[in-house]
Symmetry: C2
């Protein structure tokens, strides 16, 4: 299933196609595609070229225990993500390596890296659904994530599946139309809330 | 000037071409391109579809005072950004609209929206250089950014310029090779630092 954006201004096909499915096929994601996804993350922009992103990766077909350990950090409403063939956690390093000072934009730059990863995946028909709904403290304990690092998001990765296989409530959400604020609600000129784009 | 990534695994051309120049041409960015850039941001993924991003936009050719006000928040090492024809600030809403609870991933999702914006721009040969080096408190005062919101990054936007016009130190940085960690330094299996990708 695809669920393209309905933009008011024409944008790249890849950006239109990106969405966050809950129904995943159990078809494995070939390792070369995963490599290209992380390569895409690798070249993202970051403050001071800090590259504050780390990913903890679980591939169901290769190591179910590893996959399950990551999946065990998900909050119950995200249990659907266990049907994806690949799951990952993104982690941010909260301090700069060059001087140990706080990196105010570490989590921002992880967001940019994961966005690149997601678009690279999509170019190969692999979808990524990111979730804030997992337990970062549990992740920290389970994987020995050091102090000064924070688990940021969980990523379900795979080929789209059949929405019919989802529980009824999720199926309805899967099929609901996509909605967004209008541009003039989030682009301001001169002052907050002021001026139209 | 272009300065493509040198990936070990092949990635999308657009992701390879993305980089953060300091030399900008003074050629204005047509408004339809700016519209498509914000449209791209609009369709980014966000936790609870909160869309926590706001942009404060200054277009030099339309309103120099507005542009200068944004530029006045930049820290001195980013003074080069004043040569770009367009400048913006990205702002994150730190609490969820549906229940007022803290949105742990607000800044992350702003990073994703700005990454989409950057790639849409690049598809039209417009480059975006994001900077953490500006004064978020000053931005808050100058633009009346409400509590619960935080200015995250400054964005210089425009067509690439001539590196020869940069001060010597910046010219050297502009021409230095691009570097990144290796994938195995930031993708872990099983536990922190453990296993190779």
């Amino acid at each position: 299933m695809e669920k393209p954006a309905l933009p008011e201004h024409e944008i790249l096909d890849l950006l239109k196609r990106r969405w966050s499915p809950r129904a995943f096929s159990d078809k494995p994601v070939p390792e070369p595609i995963l490599s290209r996804m992380f390569e895409a993350a690798r070249w993202a922009a970051s403050s001071y070229n800090e590259q504050p992103w780390t990913y903890i990766l679980g591939v169901k077909a290769e190591d179910t225990a590893e996959f399950d350990r990551i999946a065990s950090t998900l909050y119950p409403p995200n249990a659907w993500a266990k049907s994806a063939p690949v799951i990952a956690l993104s982690v941010a390093k909260l301090k700069f390596s060059h001087d140990g000072s706080p990196n105010r934009v570490a989590i921002h730059d992880v967001g940019a890296a994961s966005a690149s990863l997601t678009l690279q995946a999509l170019a190969e028909d692999v979808f990524v659904h990111q979730m804030g709904g997992f337990d970062p403290k549990k992740a920290k304990e389970l994987f020995g994530i050091p102090d000064d690092y924070e688990a940021v998001a969980a990523l379900a990765i795979g080929y789209p599946g059949d929405p019919e296989e989802l529980p009824e409530a999720l199926k309805a959400r899967e099929e609901a139309p996509r909605t967004r604020k209008k541009i003039e609600e989030f682009v301001f000129r001169g002052k907050w809330g002021g001026g139209r784009f």
